[in-house]
Subunit: 351 residues, 2 copies
């Protein structure tokens, strides 16, 4: 920290992204990326947009909003497109939390929520998951403040049914609820349709996982138009041209190729089923993940040890040091071939 | 504003980007874009990067930093790459301003500075330009706080010599100074080399103007490594993957084609000289701009009237309603052919 850094951030601990080592080629199962390339339509649209980079991107993202509206069954003023879903989440912490509206989230969830709260100097209420990693909606109904829930949750992969989310939304209409659906396309049911029923709901999503566009940085929020207007007030006060024109074009290209996205999701779901079964047969405890990763521990090997041994053998998974989950590893689901190599490698390590 | 929007932002007035009307094709001289397409090397690199979008972009921007370091004569840890220069400016307001370090900037300058101060709830000291639109460094030496100066300034185009900036840096080594060099490549001398002499200097820049990449959203900050580390603390607490991989690749492509950038800048400088002379011959007062725009008023026609008449005739320029500059228009320099049409059109309007 330089002597010029504002003391208000003196205790800020930034988010740590998953490692991206360069010492060798790894099978990369550590950052929940898709193993499949983006849609050829996304690539072609990006290349075309690159020819016109001298002009600013459209701050209203009009054409992309139209494609999103058609896909999600909402109107264009119920959508905001952002530079990854981290941006819309940060905007939500800014817009809907403050001293009197603390941020409420789980102890084991997306690690960035606590950082967003800290950098915005927002108090937070951290609610422990139950022993089995399930999230009890009653705990959130009892808490005061703006609720952030990842559904499915990360790194557990556990999915809440919509009825539970509705129970939270109904329990206090003056409370904002943000549902982070980064992983919804791998078997969950989106609560986007609920935005027309509840004016206190913001749903966030990303093109980084099921749509193979992590490197493009494209996220979004869906909510009633008053909430979207609030988020746009934040956007136009920080970075009006937040999404570049190549990313916008590739998003439109991607949305015009839904078959490709669906087929990829089906492949991931199959490879996940294979991986979960193989791990359980080896004696692992595996959560019932509905995301593009699994979360597993083995009674005979510590989480960190397995992570390090896999790393030595050229496979990267994600290990978290937080005591409650230190026994576990989060393993991104790659192609079936990658998961077969993974399973074989784990077998060798356990021998 | 919804009932959920935090009261802390109740009085926030977002930045207004230049208009992007769709009712007809305009000669677009209103948002300081380049009239030239990006380097073919930038386009090709972006198209190549689009094929690998399924992987996250490199949060450290290592390869782009290496290309930047070679170009600017600094080391890679003295650079931060951002989602447009708006992002690095916002980070600087966050990192280097607070209750006890107000933001200090001119009354007539980039309109976003006051918005950045407001959204970060930072007090600001606004210093009027002199009658002739020049900026007196002594006014800033006398003020307390973190100084933001656009050099050349917008919308006046006036350039401060490095000696004046050095005088400010030397006057109080405990004061942070941010020099926003968005328009430096059109005839100004960059103060980037001064970062090795002064640890209280941050220089910001953009690929949006001279490098024809406004739609790619690529900005940067250059400073000693401690200040860069502070800015990275902010980045990793808001959006670690802030620059997408297509933009990074196109930035590297662009930097490998410096002849193209230089030739385009020379064309702009020639077209600017032509435009300034033609406007002066018609009786306009024109500031001595060193940017890719000119700032002009005519005794016989109000600024807004000229703006509207040009708009009717298919030419967009930027008019600001602030009383001190309401007589003026800011006219982006396009190609020589576009400026000839502009001059001819102004002649017709004045007839």
């Amino acid at each position: 920290m330089s002597k010029f850094f504002s003391s208000k951030y003196a205790s800020l601990v930034p988010y740590t992204p998953g490692e991206q080592p360069r010492d060798m080629q790894y099978i990369k199962l550590n950052t929940n990326e898709s193993p499949f390339p983006p849609s050829p339509k996304a690539m072609a649209a990006a290349a075309e947009a690159a020819k016109g980079l001298q002009l600013y991107s459209d701050p209203t993202a009009q054409k992309l909003n139209e494609a999103m509206a058609a896909k999600y069954g909402v109107s264009t003023d119920e959508i905001i497109m952002t530079n990854g879903s981290d941006e819309v989440l940060n905007f939500a912490f800014m817009a809907f939390c403050d001293e009197t509206h603390p941020a409420v989230f789980a102890d084991i969830t997306y690690g960035f929520y606590s950082v967003f709260a800290d950098i915005n100097r927002i108090p937070s209420t951290v609610i422990p998951l139950r022993e089995d990693f399930t999230l009890s909606i009653d705990d959130y109904i009892a808490a005061k403040g703006t609720v952030f829930i990842a559904n499915p949750n990360a790194p557990t992969g556990l999915l809440l049914p919509l009825s539970e989310i509705e129970r939270l939304l109904q329990s206090d209409p003056s409370r904002m609820v943000i549902i982070d659906e980064a992983y919804i396309d791998f078997g969950g049911k989106s609560c986007v349709p609920l935005i027309h029923k509840y004016d206190n709901l913001l749903v966030t999503g990303t093109f980084s996982k099921s749509r193979s566009m992590a490197g493009a940085r494209l996220g979004f929020g869906v909510a009633n138009k008053e909430l979207i207007r609030d988020l746009n007030t934040i956007k136009y006060s920080t970075n009006p041209y937040n999404v570049n024109s190549m990313t916008m074009a590739s998003g439109i290209g991607c949305l015009s190729d839904e078959d490709y996205t669906r087929e990829n999701c089906e492949k991931i779901i199959s490879a996940r089923a294979y991986t979960m079964q193989a791990l359980r047969e080896m004696g692992f405890t595996v959560t019932d993940s509905r995301a593009n990763f699994v979360f597993a521990r083995h009674p005979a090997i510590a989480g960190e040890e397995l992570y390090l041994k896999l790393r030595q053998k050229g496979i990267l998974v994600r290990h978290f040091t937080s005591p409650k989950i230190a026994d576990y590893n989060r393993i991104t689901i790659g192609t079936m071939e990658q998961m077969q190599v993974f399973v074989q490698t784990v077998k060798e390590i356990l021998k």
